[in-house]
């Protein structure tokens, strides 16, 4: 009876996360690619500056987790639908789970532990709030 709840949960999750992701992705695209010089403005200073802000930290965390889990569940469904050999299916599902967990852990670590002002970097490459060396 446990798997039954999971399938249902997965189905609901796909719908809810899909709606949230539309908002998150288009905000992300607008802020990164359209505003203030657009795509050319993206450099270390821009990214580090964003990731030093708690709002963008949690925004990016939500985007990362939701997108990865949404995509992984979609891939799981595709594998279930199309891969009929039980062993191959198991291998693919395991690879999928491992890669997702790895990406989520690494991504979350980067978001929360990135040093926006690494020592010994010229000031013009760093966000404006970094103390002058």
């Amino acid at each position: 009876m446990k798997t039954l709840r999971l399938e249902r949960l997965g189905w609901i999750f796909m719908r809810l996360s899909g709606v949230v992701l539309i908002a998150l992705i288009f905000t992300h695209l607008t802020v990164n690619l359209m505003q203030d010089g657009g795509v050319k403005a993206i450099d270390f200073a821009f990214v580090a500056g964003k990731l030093a802000n708690p709002f963008w930290q949690w925004f990016d965390t939500a985007l990362l987790w939701l997108a990865l889990i949404h995509g992984t569940n979609g891939m799981r469904v595709v594998i279930q639908d199309y891969v009929l050999r039980p062993r191959l299916r198991k291998v693919l599902l395991t690879l999928l789970a491992v890669s997702t967990v790895t990406l989520i852990v690494l991504g979350t670590l980067v978001i929360f532990t990135l040093d926006p002002c690494p020592a010994g970097t010229p000031a013009d490459l760093l966000p404006s709030f970094c103390p002058a060396v």
């Binding site: 009876m1 798997t3 039954l4 709840r5 399938e7 249902r8 997965g10 189905w11 609901i12 469904v77 279930q80 639908d81 199309y82 009929l84």
Partner: protein
């Protein structure tokens, strides 16, 4: 000048997927030319082949009028009842391809083993379950009856289930027809076992495997909105039955 009152006939080429388990290892295509009228149906063509050309051609049919659900087959790549598919609705400048429905074990020519299909049907408990025993009859308003009217039309021909890509790859999936049959009782105000059926359809091979491809709705010879019925069962599985 053609004689008065003579109905024009056409030569129609049928290419039929044949398989004899006693002699063949693989199914193969065989073509037959049949003289037909535009008012004929594909079933009439198959009859003419069987009666006049090759008696070994095997297919199921019982009523031949779209009610018994015996002669579902794949006609030009679409699941149809042979008895409801008129020749005039097909492009007879090209051959008409006829083969068995997919996803069920092939037995001979156009005949498949329907048992997995009926097993899924039985599993959803497609019968009225009621503990209340009224003195006269169960009362039901017109609106309450209307709620599940569409799914009462099912004739269990398996056209929907065998048009479903999920069913083709995963024979464990209940399939549209079983869900339609469950829908018919889940939304019946007299029935008391809705939750039991929803629990069954909540399983790994239940409604959540539906990918909403609408093949089933397209295939249904009775015009049941199958995909909609499945969506309503999903809805009921999430937020309870609203009759």
């Amino acid at each position: 000048m053609s004689e008065l009152g003579v109905v024009q006939s056409f030569t129609v080429t049928f290419i039929v997927r044949r398989f004899n388990p006693e002699t063949d290892t693989e199914p193969y295509w065989q073509d037959f030319d049949v003289e037909m009228f535009s008012t004929d149906r594909v079933l009439d063509g198959l009859h003419k082949i069987k009666w006049d050309q090759d008696g070994s051609l095997s297919f199921r049919r019982s009523c031949a009028h779209g009610i018994c659900g015996s002669d579902a087959m794949r006609i030009n790549g679409r699941n149809r009842l042979a008895c409801k598919t008129l020749i005039k609705d097909l492009d007879i400048s090209k051959p008409v391809y006829v083969e068995a429905i997919k996803g069920l074990p092939l037995e001979k020519d156009l005949i498949v083993d329907m048992e997995p299909f009926f097993a899924a049907y039985r599993e959803v408990q497609p019968f009225l379950q009621s503990t209340s025993k009224p003195k006269k009859e169960h009362h039901q308003t017109i609106e309450q009856r209307e709620r599940f009217d569409d799914t009462t039309k099912c004739i269990l021909c398996a056209a929907c289930t065998t048009s479903c890509p999920v069913f083709w790859t995963d024979g464990q999936y209940f399939g549209p027809a079983a869900i339609v049959s469950a829908h018919r009782f889940i939304f019946d105000s007299r029935d008391e076992a809705s939750q039991v059926r929803l629990d069954i359809l909540n399983s790994k091979e239940g409604v959540w495997r539906c990918r909403t491809t609408f093949n089933c709705t397209e295939a249904c010879p009775r015009g049941i909105e199958v995909t909609k019925a499945i969506a309503e069962v999903k809805q009921a599985a999430i937020s309870g039955v609203r009759r």
